[in-house]
Amino acid sequence: MVKKNLRTQFILAFALMLFGFGMVMQLRSQERVGERLEAQSDSDLVEIMDTLDHEVGAIREELGDANIQLAAFKDSESTNQELLEKAKAEIVELQQFASERKVVGPGIAIRIKDKQHLLTGFDLRQIVEEFRSLGAWAIAINGKRIDYRSNFYRKSGVVFLDGQKLKSDYRIEAIGEAKLLYKTITMARGIRDELNTLNGIHVRITRGETLELSAIKNRSKWQAAQNDSELQKR
């Protein structure tokens, strides 16, 4: 019985020895892990802070650059927008001047009654040239716009404008400085006087009214001349 009890105690002692051994190992490992974590956390923290500082600095720098770029972009955008608007306005003006766009504005209108068909294309061209020299922006005869390629000729007592017959009475409209146009046309020995010297021609001039001249229709294609790109194709 004593022997068995002793053996039991030894077995228990062995079990407790294993337990004690394991316990110390566990305590040591926990201690070591804790120390390592503490050491790592300190050094890591410093490293992380350092890295974060660098990153914050870099981000701030990038942000500054981005702001500068944004400001420059906004400036250029507004400049570009202004230029674009200006270019559009110029295109519109050019189109108006080239008779490709309807024009509305003040001006004068000359109504010429020519029952005997005395006026020639040359006469009408002279009137048109007079308006042009006075800075008229848009000119039309009987509602037909005149552009830089317009031509007049007379055939069988009828005046043709760009190949289209002009019926008398003629109504010549010009948009521009109405006062200047009127004064010049009505001045002594001016166009009105010249026309009035011809028998059977009656001239009536009105000014200040708002005129509306439509865009040129059926523009003829280039025939005698070709543009540069067409020549290069050949």
Binding site: T8, L12, A13, A15, L16, F19, F21, M25
Partner: protein
């Protein structure tokens, strides 16, 4: 007395040998230690009650220790905190055994 000497010897061996345990194994070793402690107190209790069975004790000691470690491993892989079940089960039994040992101790010394 001899069991206490065994415990002291184990502690001394642990201090002297200073075998490192990988951090990953610490959890398994911890629960295995709990199982071993439970078995040891169970053995002490059985010894005091004079019902100690060597085979049962050794079998229980090894089995509980290994199974406890395996339960924790399984729980880790399944994503379930199964070690809590082992802690509760072994913890409850540990305190029960301790209570019985304490009562037996009091009874022997006529402190009740």
């Amino acid at each position: 007395m001899i069991p206490i000497l065994g415990l002291v010897t184990g502690i001394a061996l642990g201090l002297i040998l200073n075998i490192p345990v990988p951090a990953l194994m610490a959890r398994y070793l911890g629960i295995a230690l709990l199982a071993a402690l439970d078995s040891s107190f169970g053995g002490l209790r059985a010894n005091l009650e004079e019902s100690f069975n060597e085979r049962l004790f050794i079998g229980g000691f090894l089995f509980n220790t290994i199974i406890a470690g395996l339960i924790v491993y399984l729980g880790d892989n399944l994503g379930i905190e199964l070690y809590l079940a082992a802690v509760v089960a072994f913890g409850v039994r540990l305190f029960q055994n301790l209570a019985i040992i304490r009562r037996h101790f009091f009874k022997v010394h006529h402190w009740e």
